[in-house]
């Protein structure tokens, strides 16, 4: 790591530039950005005092089992191996278990109570146990899509139909960006775990909102952002000079053309050049102290969830509004115990580290963290390899923490077998309404006209703010 740091320094010195990003940006005559991450938000927003300024959404893609994380079901244990009562499953959507005999699968781990709140956490998540009093667990989530791809789309956009904006785009559109040299919506996907489910770029699409609100993917290997590196053999100085030339020519010609788009383009080129500086600087964590790297378990540049959690904190510090981390590999149709160990091993501690690190920096107060998958898993046994579970949408768990969230709380419940959410049901739309509420937005009055309709993240069906988990 030290070598990397030195190389970067020497490189800058060699270009006669022992300077920071700001100074480099002044190369192109851009002292103050003309477009603040391109946006300033919708006038009139926030509607009310915002408890959170930004969101870190930890998406456990594949659908972690609620029955082995936060939702303890002793009755299910008692019925282990017995036929699943027909009354639960009749007429319900079923994924891979279609047409097979359904039997109960008891919890594949133990649960204990932790913290002052006595939050129930499974043995798979020892580091979550340490933050039992920080998180609000919702045990009554429901969604409408039972296959991965549309279920992610549903979780991100509130509908299974393609072409709608993702929540990160909505939030940046509404509130604008606080970063002048990074996009307001950043996506990081980690490597590691079992054979992962694919994840589509539509998950961070801006849909019918302007494309400047779409999520930009950062990656640990290769170029951190597509095309963010200058071409081979072109120095930063040369690139800066080129951008300056382009902007001068555009501005000169525009005296005649008077095209407002040209002004926007000049600003876009300035921002592009600043990103060429700021993105590598952001991704280079070699300056982080050893104890922080250890806390996360991050090996810089490895693309792990741990490294991405650390990057999430760095992004949050730099004013990025919506940070979404995907960790894939939670799709445990079989060998659930083995793969839970893998997935939890990769994510449990880094999640704790992120929350704890934000807290020690005073940032947890205005950062909303959301953890969960696109759905849960069946109380029924599925056996691809060792025992596992199929996709399940009628009841699962997620947690929230940070700005405005009542830590240590539990909300809602599923039935005795963990099949249906039966108490204080929280639909994905309610989750969206709650997130918007914490960001100072009334979901009912946050809409954009599209194809003749006033589109909302929460759609046309009724939805509510989950007050029970708010502090």
């Amino acid at each position: 790591m030290n070598e990397q740091k030195i190389n970067r320094r020497t490189f800058l010195q060699r270009s006669g530039l022992n300077l920071g990003t700001a100074a480099l940006a002044s190369l192109i005559g851009a002292e103050r950005p003309k477009v603040l991450g391109s946006t300033t938000g919708v006038p009139g927003l926030p509607h009310h005092f915002a408890r959170a300024k930004r969101v870190i959404f930890l998406c456990m893609a594949g659908g972690p089992s609620h029955l082995e994380t936060f939702d303890y079901k002793p009755t299910l244990a008692a019925l282990d191996g017995k036929p699943m009562p027909d009354s639960y499953t009749k007429g319900q959507p079923i994924a891979q278990l279609q047409g097979t005999a359904l039997k109960c699968q008891g919890p594949l781990t133990q649960f204990k109570r932790y913290g002052q709140s006595g939050q129930l956490v499974s043995d798979f998540l020892p580091w979550h146990a340490k933050m039992a009093d920080e998180i609000a667990v919702v045990r009554s989530m429901v969604t409408e899509q039972i296959n991965h791809d549309p279920a992610h789309t549903f979780m991100n956009t509130g509908t299974g139909i393609s072409g709608r904006p993702s929540m990160g785009s909505w939030i940046n559109y509404g509130l604008g960006s606080e970063s002048s040299d990074l996009p307001g919506f950043v996506v990081l996907t980690s490597v590691g775990g079992r054979n992962p489910q694919p994840i589509a770029s539509r998950q961070w699409s801006s849909g019918f909102l302007p494309s400047r609100y779409q999520g930009v993917e950062f990656q640990a290997s290769g170029d951190p952002v597509n095309y963010v590196k200058s071409p081979k053999n072109v120095t930063t100085l040369q690139q800066g000079k080129l951008v300056k030339t382009i902007n001068q020519l555009n501005m000169h010609r525009n005296r005649r053309l008077q095209d407002p788009e040209v002004e926007t383009r000049v600003a876009a080129y300035e921002m592009a050049f600043r990103m060429q500086m700021s993105v590598p600087e952001l991704m280079d964590v070699s300056g982080e102290p050893e104890h922080i790297l250890e806390m996360y378990g991050a090996n810089p540049g490895d693309g792990s969830y741990a490294s991405n959690c650390l990057l999430a904190r760095r992004l949050a510090e730099r004013g990025v509004r919506f940070i979404q981390l995907y960790h894939r590999g939670w799709d445990h149709h079989g060998d659930l115990v083995k793969y839970m160990n893998t997935c939890c091993g990769l994510t449990d501690k880094p999640t704790w580290a992120l929350l704890t690190d934000l807290k020690q920096r005073g940032m947890l107060d205005d950062t909303l963290i959301v953890w969960g998958g696109e759905f849960g898993r069946t109380p029924m046994y599925q056996g691809k390899g060792g025992p596992g579970r199929d996709h399940h949408i009628k009841g699962f768990s997620m947690w929230l923490a940070g700005g405005g969230v009542k830590g240590g709380s539990q909300y809602g419940a599923t039935d005795d077998l963990g099949y249906h959410a039966v108490e204080d049901i929280v639909h994905v739309r309610d989750l969206h309404a709650t997130m918007l509420h914490l960001l100072g937005i009334d979901h009912r009055h946050f809409s954009v006209p599209f194809q003749g309709l006033d589109m909302r993240l929460t759609g046309v069906e009724s939805s509510r703010v989950v007050n029970g988990i708010l502090s």
Partner: protein, 782 residues
């Protein structure tokens, strides 16, 4: 304003004074003048009232409908929402103006409200008798003579008469003609999606006569690049892509359909035939190979090959997808809204939605549930193996040649054996074999026993309680005329869509001339290219749209004719400069007192920059191609994991329309310039202007390599002097010479401080080339 007010005199009654005020306020925008129900009133009622008082019976409040004249004017216990001639007696106005929060309409919590001007407009309309008319898009257009204009020397064809007469009403003059260079670039971008060759520009500059202009239009329309440019647009509408879209996003076999579309536009296949072949080519008597390929249309939807998909659920998803697309493409209707409930704003019922599905229930689409493996390409039978039309033409030519060579070789009595030694014949046969080897698979439509289609209550596919429906067109648009006892088919639907007498033909025609207009002006006559329903924007030039639609039908659905007509108008030839005055008076350019300027679509950005550099490969048709792409860009794809191998040969430099369209991870260059993922019908792409796009043009290896090639050309053909070279470069890219300032700015890249890092001359010129390829002007159509 003050002066106008005093002119009114004291005789004015208070009320009429207010109306005058309204008029003065409204006069600032283009919607002043006599009230047109369809244009001015219906959109207001639709947007603010129909959600609760419209076509959707389930949501309707107080049993009041405002979308129907009779219901809106019906007196119930002495109260009517609208009392013609009496705004003060109309409950509609009373409820809008009341200060009682409980009674106020639209309801306070709806987030909707009416401005003072809008309320005054409604009052004036009621006072004038509340005249009603059918929705503009669903009313049959009538052929009308073009209006007379005061100025008679300006217009070139009847389009101009319609435009000019409205301008004269507003005491506005059209803009001057654009200069020849701008014109030739405009035509070239609009009709071919490419920057014009410098020779074409020079020749038109030398002779910018009307005749020369006409020849130019014809030449562009007849060039094969026209079909490629039109295909890019069509493929957005029909959501063409090279991959299945859901989950594993595997490749599927479809590229011959893309070539069919290009050929169809180039051959100017009549639009009604084009429609029929795509929706129902398989149902024609003895369909040709191309007609079968055309039916790939019905297979373009997204499919899922994920393990554990529920067939019944996905068949419902596919059926809904098809209705959304066919209604969006041909009818400009948002039928998708009626999947769960009757449409909120248009008279489209849920029954209409599902009855439309029934037309497609014979399309064989179940095989992939079993056979659609994680291979690349995956299998989506029925598929056939074909040569494209072009390839077949070449093959036939070779056959003829083989035959003629054979004839000359045959010596009577020696038989075939003696032919084997002919080298020419062997070459021909080898050629033939090579062509046969380029056969590609393509998904096609095969008709099977129709699946049962039910109305799904609230769109719920698990609910079998809804009635079984037979194929039918939306009821408010009429019905299919046919034998009562026979089930209607896709062929019936296709014919109905383009039947101007007894079907929706004139609606289809309106929808498409509006889109053709959009391609030539950057904005439609109605700006809602995808919604001709109540929430869409009524066209300011409604009559012009009507006349164009009638012309389209009367010409025999001749696409090139419409483009020729639009290009031939003086309206099209105007300068695009937006003066301060026009910006204030007509910010959306509805009056058309000028042309428009806009950034080129993604494909045209790529193609033009490659053309300037000299790298563009003009080959037409064939399998999709893979340009350079950032390493690992497909890292999130799985089932199977994806390796991307960019073409290393000339295929790398093919036009954008041939670029491999990966729905989940569209090539980042295309995505940065707003090309859609093609999951749904896209009739208008946004035109963003972002740092991400800047990074593409600055650093994407395709454009870096293009700059290198361009630099080489500049040095080779631009003469020895820097100035001459810069002139050459500018002519290639911008069709003009650089001015002194531009030469000075660019010269700094060739010398001066900051460039003494051991750069060779070539590298200096690469910098210049990169600068020019990044100019706003290079990717903007004026």
């Amino acid at each position: 304003m003050i002066e106008s007010l005093s002119n009114l005199g004291m005789a004015c009654q208070i009320r009429s004074l207010r109306w005058m005020l309204v008029c003065l306020v409204v006069c600032g925008s283009v919607s002043a003048g006599p009230i047109d129900f369809s244009r001015d009133i219906r959109p207001l009622l639709s947007d603010r009232c129909f959600f609760c008082h419209g076509p959707d019976g389930e949501e309707r409040k107080a049993d009041l409908r405002l979308d129907l004249e009779e219901a809106a004017k019906l007196s119930r216990s002495g109260v009517a929402a609208i009392v013609a001639g009496s705004p003060e007696k109309s409950e509609l106005i009373a409820r809008i103006k009341t200060h009682d929060r409980d009674d106020r309409m639209p309801p306070v919590d709806s987030g909707k409200s009416l401005s003072d001007e809008e309320v005054a407009l409604l009052e004036r309309w009621i006072l004038e008798g509340a005249p009603w008319s059918d929705h503009w898009a669903y009313k049959l257009p009538e052929r009308r003579p073009a209006p007379a204009t005061e100025e008679t020397g300006w217009g070139q064809n009847w389009i101009d008469d319609w435009v000019l007469s409205k301008l004269e009403e507003r005491a506005l003059a059209p803009s001057k003609d654009a200069d020849p260079v701008t014109l030739v670039r405009r035509l070239s971008f609009d009709l071919t999606g490419l920057v014009p060759e410098p020779e074409t520009v020079a020749s038109f500059q030398n002779d910018p006569s009307r005749q020369a202009y006409g020849r130019l239009v014809d030449a562009f329309l007849e060039s094969p690049q026209f079909g490629e440019r039109m295909a890019s647009y069509w493929l957005d509408l029909v959501r063409y892509a090279d991959t299945v879209g859901y989950h594993g996003d595997q490749d599927h076999n479809i590229s011959p359909y893309r070539d069919y579309v290009i050929d169809a536009f180039n051959e100017n296949l009549s639009f009604d035939q084009f429609t029929i072949e795509q929706l129902a080519g398989d149902l024609l008597a003895e369909p040709t190979m191309d007609q079968l390929i055309a039916t790939g249309y019905n297979r373009l939807l997204q499919t899922s090959h994920e393990g554990g998909v529920q067939q019944k659920e996905y068949l419902a998803i596919y059926a809904a997808d098809r209705v959304r697309n066919v209604s969006g493409v041909w009818l400009g209707a948002t039928m998708g809204c009626a999947q769960c409930h009757d449409h909120k704003y248009d008279p489209i019922t849920s029954k209409d939605f599902y009855a439309m599905q029934a037309f497609f229930s014979d399309v064989d689409e179940v095989k992939h549930f079993k056979n659609g493996t994680n291979n690349l390409p995956t299998r989506r039978e029925p598929e056939i193996e074909v040569l494209s039309k072009r390839e077949r033409l070449v093959a036939a030519m070779i056959d003829r040649e083989i035959e003629s060579v054979s004839k000359n070789l045959v010596v009577p009595g020696t038989g075939d054996g003696s032919l084997e030694g002919s080298p020419r014949l062997e070459t021909l046969r080898a050629l033939k074999k090579r062509i046969e080897g380029t056969k590609r698979k393509v998904m096609v439509t095969q008709s099977v026993e129709p699946r049962t289609i039910r109305l799904l209550p609230r769109g719920n596919w698990l609910d079998d309680s809804g009635p079984v429906l037979q194929p039918a067109v939306p009821e408010f648009l009429g019905e299919l005329k046919g034998a009562a006892d026979q089930r209607s088919t896709r062929l019936d639907l296709a014919r109905w869509l383009t039947d101007a007498e007894n079907g929706a033909g004139l609606l289809t025609a309106r929808v498409f001339v509006n889109r053709f207009w959009f391609l030539m002006f950057g904005s439609g006559l109605s700006r809602s290219l995808d919604d001709f329903g109540g929430q869409g924007e009524p066209p300011y030039h409604g009559e012009l749209l009507d006349q164009l639609a009638i012309e389209f039908v009367d010409s025999g659905w001749d696409v090139k004719h419409i483009f020729r007509l639009i290009a031939g108008s003086r309206t099209y030839r105007q300068d695009s400069l937006e003066t301060e005055g026009l910006r204030t008076r007509d910010p959306y350019n509805q009056l058309l007192a000028r042309q428009a300027r806009f950034r080129l679509p993604a494909e045209a950005v790529r193609d033009s920059l490659l053309q300037i550099s000299g790298l563009l490969n003009h080959e037409i048709g064939g399998a999709s191609v893979k340009p350079y792409q950032p390493e690992g860009y497909y890292r999130h794809l799985n089932f199977p994991p994806r390796k991307y191998k960019a073409h290393s040969d000339g295929q790398q430099w093919r036009r954008g329309v041939y670029v491999h369209w990966q729905r989940q991870f569209l090539h980042p260059m295309m995505a940065a310039f707003d090309a859609p993922s093609r999951e749904e019908c896209t009739s208008q792409r946004p035109a963003s202007n972002t740092p991400v796009a800047a990074l593409v043009l600055l650093n994407d290896p395709s454009f870096v390599e293009a700059a290198e090639a361009f630099a080489k050309r500049i040095m080779e053909f631009g003469g020895p002097e820097p100035e001459g070279r810069l002139r050459f470069a500018f002519q290639q890219a911008l069709s003009r010479d650089p001015d002194e300032t531009e030469i000075e700015i660019l010269s700094r890249l060739l010398s001066g401080p900051g460039n003494d890092l051991g750069e060779s001359e070539k590298q200096h010129w690469v910098s210049v080339a990169r600068a020019i390829l990044n100019l706003s002007e290079a990717i903007t159509r004026h």
